[in-house]
Structure formats: structure tokens, C-alpha cells
């Protein structure tokens, strides 16, 4: 088969099994767009901004585990995509981002729409390539998909100069079936000796706790994790990124930990003697003050990325390997082990934990005549029976979503954790809905975040994506306002959203359904009505209590045991 460079690009995507390509055309990718036009296996989704393309591909990837694929033009197309690439990088999401580039002979001459894409993206990709020869396209794309999806996943950028895709130059096409790279070998197995060492420590623990993160989701290891936790009868807490990997409604689950984590989760971390960290990276939002982190614990850390181990916190038993395999081995070793966890000691630990749980740290005012954001999320949980895909933006609403929507399955909770990118939610929801056309997809957002990628409402209309948008409208950049209230004597510098559009009319102008809800008594009914419109995007502008804050909260520089539980409370 003889193909042009442009045709090879598209054929490679087909051979990779790519169904959706999120993109936006421009001069340097016109040859590729022409090749896309002449086929229908790869469906192109035309976004309204390249940031939207990367977030949509990212939502697609997070909700499926398959790589998200993006195509943008050179220069501004590539720079617009950078935020989405960095977002994916921070959360280890597999993306393959194809960027157009000016023709090879003019690279470096400040040609029209030229930027050094490889240079700009280098610090926020797992790897990137510049293809200089049509003969290299197939192998490079194979490598790109391989690198993006194996080991610790991440985005890979492939920069393709226009002349490389010249329709006039045809060469034989052959997509490599397998690939090995001498410089990249991610398939290491977790060391059994280390697993045994870890299990020994686990079984003699008096106050064990599992601390799990996004790696369990990425590594598709929910089943293995659940079996191990249940076998041991140990408590488990999760990072923001790991929610759903272990069923949130199970009694072993203590809720999220960290800055806005639950009292029981954070206190368990502070008191534990054996911490079992799995697919988590000891992020500063999780650890709080590093010197006070888990002061009494021996730490076991399972991670696929050796560089994650002992990066910020020194660990005692490191295990480098895929979490799925390591957890499976752990379970086997636990079952075969003569030693069993001491039931009485463990019971005491659980009594302590239940005491902490009894503080009901997530309680909020149930009798308010305003809609509380927590109540809105709880209502969403009820109306969707806990079975929706829930995306969010960044801010208080994100934390309320994480605290109050109980995730029982992995890949259901989709948010930007590492980079904290406002504007992520709407385009990410598009990717989720495209990947799961029959599923209920809800977006929990804020009036500030949603405006950062609001243009994608048009894309939703074009592709009939019936996302349900729950806008928790507090008229503030709530999370910023909260910090200003606490740490800047309530000087709300530039954090009020004084002007917002009429979201109902805005939604309608894009051809969607808009609703404005102010009365708590009417919220559930309105939400039911919205979700009953199976084939429509419904934009629910929910006016919530503007001054509500997220609790518990660990202030910067504090340890896990020093939380504010409510506005009135001293540190507990």
C-alpha cells in the first residue's frame, strides 16, 4: 500500500484503533485534514478551542483507559493545547497530541505560525518527537502510543512539519505490530522479596492504613485492591485522584485524605504505624507539613515510577512495579502467610477510627433556606443513584463533589488534580460522553471555571452530547475567596464574579436547555427533570450559598492532626 504522509498519519490512527480524534484545523495540518475527509473510520470531533480538544481527549482517556488523541495546527494551535497537555501530564493521563509544524526547510526562520513546539512542551510531556521524514511517521506514531500508554502513562506530542505530509509523495506503508525500545523498558515486575517484606510489616501492624491514589485507577487495579483490603480488614483512604478505586460506600473507606480530607482519614494517617501507599505520590496537598507527615509510621510504597519513591517522603519498603501485579502478589502472600492480623489489636484500631468518624466532619447546615453546595452534590448523587460519570472543574465545587458524591467504581470521577486546571470540566465531559454515549455524565462546575471553556457548549450541540451541567453558582471564585477570608482578613481581591452571563439564556442560545434553581425544596425535582431529558444537554444554574466554605481544612504548613472542622472551630 502506497500512501502519502498525511494518509499515513490517519491510517496509523486507524491501525491503533483510534475512534475519536479531537481537533481543530489550520494551515500546517491541512494535508492531514484532507486525508481525514476521505475516510470515516476515525471520527473527528471539531472543538471550539484547542484547549478543549486536549481536555476532551483527556476526559475520554480517564474514563476509558484508552489514549486520547488530538490534532492541532502549528503555532497558536499548539500553544493553545499546552494547558491541556500539562493537565494530562500532572495526572499521568495517556494522550497522543499531533501538532502541525511549518515545513522542515523553514523551521527556525520564524516562519508564519512557527513555534518551537518540542521545546515548549518538553517539560510537560512524557516524551515528544519532531518527525523530519515521511518514512519515520509510522514508527514514530507507534512509539508515541506505546510510550503514552505503558509504564506510568502520560502525554506524548508528535510535531509534524507540513512537507512531511505532502500528498504528492507516496511511500509504502506498514504499521509496526510490536515495538521494543532499547531506551525504554517499562515492564518491570514488582520484586517478590520486597512484597514479602511488605506483607510481614503489614501483618504485624497495630494501626495499619491504606493510602491509595490515581495509580490504582490508571493501573486498573481496583479489583485487586478491594480484595486485599477486604481480606485484611484494614481501613483505607484515598487521594482526590484515587476516588472510586475502592468502593466509597464500603465501611473500610474513610473518605478522601489531605487538605480537605475527612477527619477520620487524616487522623488515621497521623496515628498509623504502617502506611501502605499504593499508586500515590505524596503530593503536598495530601501530606500537609512534610515533617509532621505520618510521624509514627513505617511506609510501604508501591508505584510503577521509581522516581515517585522517596521523592518527598522517605519510604521503608519501596516496591517498583505495576500496582495490579504487586497487589495480586501481596494478596497471595497474605493468604499463604502463617501469620494473620491480630484481631483484637485491629478491633481497637477500628474503635478509635469509628470515634473519629463519629465527629461527622462533613456535616453542614441542613435547614438553610439557601441551597448549600453540599446539598446540591448529595442531591445529584441521589438522582443519579450514584452511578454517573462525574466531571468537575477546579474550586470549592470540586472539593464538595469529591466529599459528597460517593464513588463506588473507578474512572467515574474525572477532575484535574495535579495541575488544578479551571476550564477542564466541560470539554472533559464531552470526551466522557463520547466514550460512553448511553451513560449519565454530570459536570459539577463553578460560574468562574465554566467560563474558561464555555465555547465548547457549541461542540456539545454539534455532536449531541447530553451532558448535565450542575453549576454551583456562588458568584465568587469560591476557593480563592475562602483563602482570602481565612488568611487575608476577608479582603476579596478580584475574587468576586461581579458579571456573569445569564446562563439560562446562554445555554439556550447554544440550543441547549437552561434552568435556574434557587430554592432547595425544588432542587431534586428540577434535577430529575433534567436527567429525564436523555438526549439534551441541560445547564442547571444552581444558585448556592455564596459564603459557604470547604471543611475540614488543613492550612498550609500544618500536620494531618491539625484540622479546622468548621468556621467556629479552633484547630482540633
Amino acid at each position: 500500500m502506497e500512501l502519502s504522509g498525511a494518509e499515513i498519519v490517519v491510517q496509523c490512527l486507524k491501525d491503533e484503533g483510534v475512534e475519536h480524534l479531537f481537533g481543530y484545523p489550520g494551515g500546517s495540518v491541512l494535508h492531514i485534514y484532507d486525508a481525514i475527509y476521505r475516510q470515516d473510520a476515525v471520527k473527528h470531533i471539531l472543538v471550539r478551542h484547542e484547549q478543549g480538544a486536549t481536555h476532551a481527549a483527556d476526559g475520554y482517556a480517564r474514563s476509558t483507559g484508552k489514549p486520547g488523541v488530538v490534532l492541532v495546527t502549528s503555532g497558536p494551535g499548539a500553544t493553545n493545547a499546552v494547558t491541556g497537555i500539562a493537565t494530562a501530564y500532572m495526572d499521568s493521563i495517556p494522550l497522543v497530541v499531533l501538532t502541525g509544524q511549518v515545513p522542515t526547510p523553514v523551521i527556525g526562520s520564524d516562519a508564519f505560525q512557527e513555534v518551537d513546539t518540542v521545546g515548549i512542551t518538553r517539560p510537560c510531556v512524557k516524551h515528544n518527537f519532531l518527525i523530519k521524514d515521511v518514512k519515520d511517521i509510522a514508527l514514530t506514531l507507534k512509539k508515541a502510543f506505546y510510550i503514552a500508554t505503558t509504564g506510568r502513562p502520560g502525554p506524548v506530542v508528535v510535531d509534524i512539519p507540513k512537507d512531511v505530509t505532502d500528498p504528492g509523495i507516496k511511500i509504502p506503508y506498514d504499521y509496526p505490530k510490536k515495538i521494543t525500545m532499547r531506551s525504554y523498558n517499562p515492564q518491570a515486575k514488582g520484586h517478590l522479596g520486597q512484597v514479602k517484606k511488605a506483607v510481614n510489616k503489614m501483618l504485624s501492624a497495630k494501626k495499619p492504613v491504606f493510602y491509595t491514589g490515581g495509580g490504582v485507577v490508571l493501573g486498573n487495579a481496583s479489583k485487586e485492591l478491594t480484595e486485599l483490603v477486604d481480606e485484611l480488614d484494614y481501613p483505607i483512604t484515598s487521594t482526590l485522584m484515587g476516588l472510586g478505586a475502592y468502593p466509597g460506600s464500603d465501611r473500610h473507606f474513610l473518605g478522601m485524605l489531605g487538605m480537605h480530607g475527612t477527619y477520620e482519614a487524616n487522623m488515621s494517617m497521623h496515628e498509623t504505624d504502617v502506611l501502605i501507599a499504593v499508586g500515590a505520590r505524596f503530593d503536598d496537598r495530601v501530606t500537609g507539613h512534610i515533617q509532621q507527615f505520618c510521624p509514627n509510621a513505617e511506609i510501604i510504597h508501591v508505584d510503577i515510577d521509581p522516581a515517585s519513591i522517596s521523592k518527598t517522603v522517605r519510604v521503608d519498603v519501596p516496591i517498583v512495579g505495576p500496582v495490579k501485579q504487586v497487589l495480586r502478589d501481596m494478596l497471595r502472600v497474605v493468604k499463604e502467610h502463617k501469620k494473620k492480623p491480630d484481631k483484637d489489636v485491629l478491633a481497637k484500631w477500628w474503635v478509635q477510627i469509628e470515634k473519629w468518624r463519629g465527629m461527622h466532619c462533613l456535616k453542614y447546615d441542613q435547614n438553610s433556606d439557601r441551597i448549600k453546595p453540599q446539598f446540591a452534590v448529595e442531591t445529584l448523587y441521589k438522582v443519579t443513584k450514584g452511578d454517573a460519570f462525574v466531571a468537575s472543574d477546579v474550586g470549592q465545587h470540586q472539593m464538595f463533589a469529591a466529599q459528597f458524591y460517593v464513588f463506588d467504581k473507578p474512572r467515574r470521577w474525572i477532575n484535574s488534580g495535579g495541575l488544578g486546571t479551571m476550564g477542564f470540566g466541560l470539554p472533559a465531559s464531552m470526551g466522557i460522553q463520547l466514550a460512553h454515549p448511553k451513560a449519565e455524565v454530570a459536570l459539577i462546575t463553578g460560574e468562574s471555571s465554566i467560563q474558561m471553556c464555555i465555547q465548547e457548549l457549541a461542540t456539545c450541540q454539534q455532536y449531541n452530547l447530553p451532558i448535565k451541567i450542575l453549576l454551583l453558582n456562588n458568584g465568587y471564585m469560591g476557593m480563592v475567596r475562602q483563602w482570602q477570608e481565612f488568611f487575608y482578613d476577608s479582603r476579596y481581591a478580584q475574587s468576586t464574579m461581579d458579571v456573569t452571563p445569564d446562563f439560562v439564556k446562554l445555554a439556550e442560545s447554544y440550543g441547549h436547555v437552561g434552568m435556574r434553581i434557587t430554592d432547595p425544596a425544588k432542587l431534586e425535582g428540577a434535577m430529575k427533570e433534567a436527567f429525564a431529558m436523555k438526549d439534551r444537554l441541560v445547564f442547571m444554574d444552581v444558585v448556592v450559598d455564596p459564603e459557604e466554605n470547604v471543611f475540614p481544612m488543613i492550612a498550609a504548613g500544618k500536620g494531618h492532626h491539625e484540622m479546622y472542622l468548621s468556621p467556629e472551630s479552633e484547630l482540633v
Binding site: R122, P123, L130, I147, M181, S183, Y184, P306, A307, R314
Partner: protein, 163 residues
């Protein structure tokens, strides 16, 4: 502590900037970095001198290993190794200074590789500290310019850093 790290890397364009970019992005020290192709033209060999606590060095080697283009890496400071750096130094050399410089060059086993009426260029190879010592020993006023390659290193013994 000072560490000398040897890296075998795919000889791709941009490979070097991945290494140097990593050091700036993560705020690691970099004292010197040398690169050249090897007997296998598809591979480059880098020698990197850095310093930091054991934790930082551990992170540096892990992060370097994580770069997709890095094929192999060794911290030479962990074993017995040989280090060499080359320097060319241009000195003002007039009348009485000429003899004095020559003697010094002999002591350091250097070579004079360029001569004019008023100057010498001295070539000197050795461990970096020997080069430092030479620079210390000559009168600072005589130094017109100097250029150093930065050290490259190799482990002693029969084993090699290869693929």
C-alpha cells in the same frame, strides 16, 4: 557531595536539552556537562557533574533514567573511576615569564601548543583538580583566556557502560 554521572543516550536531536531542561526545571545543580557521540553513532555519551545530598542525587539519577532517550546511566562516583578534563589556556608570555611558564608546564606535564612573541597557549589534561591547581599556580595577571571541556569519566576495570 560531588557526583560524576555517565549517561548513554540515543543520539537524537534535542536529547541534550532534555537533560539540561530537567536540571533547570527541578532546580538541580549542574557543574558541567559534556557530550559526544560514541563508537556506535546512534548513541551519545554524556558526562555530568553535579552535587547535592544523597536524596537529591538519588532523585537526579531516577529522573534521568526516566527520560525516554536515556539508555543507560551510571553514577561513577559509586566506584573506582578515572576522570579527565582538558584545558587550553592562553597566557601572556614575555621575556622572563617565558621560562617560568615553561617550567610550570613541565611540572604539570602540559604542552605548549601555540607560540607568539608575547603569548603561549598551554594544553593541559588531567583530573579537574589538577587543572585547578595549574590555574592557581600561574600568575592571574598573565591569563588572557582559558577554556575547559569539563570532565569526562570512565569506570576502571574490564566492564563497560554499553547496551
Amino acid at each position: 557531595m560531588r557526583h560524576i554521572i555517565s549517561i548513554l543516550m540515543e543520539n537524537e536531536s534535542g536529547a541534550l536539552s532534555r537533560v539540561s531542561g530537567l536540571f533547570t526545571a527541578r532546580g538541580y545543580n549542574i557543574e558541567s556537562l559534556t557530550v559526544a557521540p560514541t563508537q556506535d553513532p546512534s548513541l551519545s555519551r554524556l558526562t555530568l557533574v553535579t552535587s547535592g545530598s544523597e536524596e537529591i542525587i538519588e532523585q537526579i539519577t531516577k529522573q534521568l533514567n526516566k527520560l525516554i532517550d536515556v539508555v543507560k546511566l551510571a553514577d561513577l562516583s559509586e566506584g573506582i573511576h578515572i576522570e579527565r578534563e582538558m584545558m587550553m589556556i592562553k597566557l601572556r608570555a614575555e621575556r622572563t615569564q617565558r621560562e617560568e611558564i615553561k617550567r610550570l608546564v613541565e611540572i604539570f606535564r602540559g604542552k605548549i601548543i601555540d607560540v607568539t612573541d608575547t603569548s603561549y597557549i598551554v594544553e593541559l589534561t588531567g583530573a579537574s583538580c589538577k587543572l585547578d591547581a595549574f590555574v592557581e599556580a600561574v600568575n592571574a595577571d598573565l591569563i588572557v583566556e582559558m577554556v575547559r571541556t569539563g570532565p569526562s569519566g570512565i569506570a576502571r576495570g574490564s566492564k563497560g557502560l554499553g547496551i
